[in-house]
């Protein structure tokens, strides 16, 4: 078993006395970890709200109308910021058990899925695909298709 910090750095303290303090210290560490999880969950909630705000503006400025040059730039910078913050959350959450985080409403699987979705959006809009490649692929998909177009029945998710 590894020596505790007190045993290592304060060897003159009798182990029996140290044990009492180590117990209090371990409780303090638990509390700090709990606080950290609460902070993480709060940051996660803020990040999710930011993603919604981003999607709302994206829908209005990028999808429902033809985006202007400034829209492209804002879209890219906001997207990169959200991806960066989400990745930081992923790193920070790595030090905690999933079940401990879930008590605070922090779901690692949702974080991963939201990040994948943001990465897909980056590929979709900023993937730097050459124009001639895009044109050829679009023709391949939409014009050279021999499969008869059939009505795609969608199952709408209830609100």
């Amino acid at each position: 078993m590894a020596a505790t910090a007190t045993q290592t750095y304060l060897p003159e303290i009798a182990p029996r006395d140290a044990r009492d303090w180590e117990f209090v210290k371990s409780l303090l560490q638990d509390l700090e970890a709990e606080e950290h999880r609460e902070q993480l969950a709060s940051a996660f909630g803020q990040w999710k709200l930011l993603i919604k705000a981003f999607r709302r503006v994206e829908e209005r400025r990028m999808v429902r109308q033809s985006p202007e040059q400034l829209d492209w730039k804002f879209h890219k910078t906001c997207l990169c910021g959200l991806m960066g913050f989400g990745t930081m959350l992923q790193i920070a959450a790595g030090g905690h058990k999933s079940e401990d985080l879930e008590k605070h409403g922090f779901h690692k699987d949702l974080l991963d899925a939201l990040l994948r979705d943001l990465h897909n959006t980056f590929d979709e809009w900023h993937g730097q695909v050459p124009e001639d490649r895009l044109k050829a692929l679009s023709e391949d998909i939409f014009n050279a298709e021999t499969e008869p177009h059939r009505e795609h029945s969608r199952s709408k998710v209830s609100a």
């Binding site: 829908e59 949702l110 899925a113 695909v129 939409f142 795609h152």
Partner: protein
């Protein structure tokens, strides 16, 4: 413009992902289905994910209108 059902399915899954009131568990499930559908289309059209997503990007809005669907954030309060 003929639209393969595979592409319509990708649009449909993306539309569902943009639903603001989607639950966390539904989001995770649909996101996995979305990635799987993209991977399938990439195999079919011999292209990368970025190429496919960029190629069908502008068709998404057309699909939403053709399906007569409301825009996910259209009815949301702007406040």
């Amino acid at each position: 413009m003929p639209r393969p059902s595979l592409i319509a399915n990708i649009h449909d899954l993306k539309y569902q992902l943009r639903e603001p009131r989607l639950t966390a568990s539904d989001f995770v499930k649909i996101q996995q289905e979305y990635d799987a559908a993209i991977a399938e289309a990439c195999r079919k059209y011999h292209c990368s994910k970025a190429e496919l997503l960029a190629a069908i990007r502008s068709d998404f809005g057309i699909w939403v209108n053709q399906e007569g669907l409301p825009w996910p954030y259209e009815t949301e309060s702007e406040s």
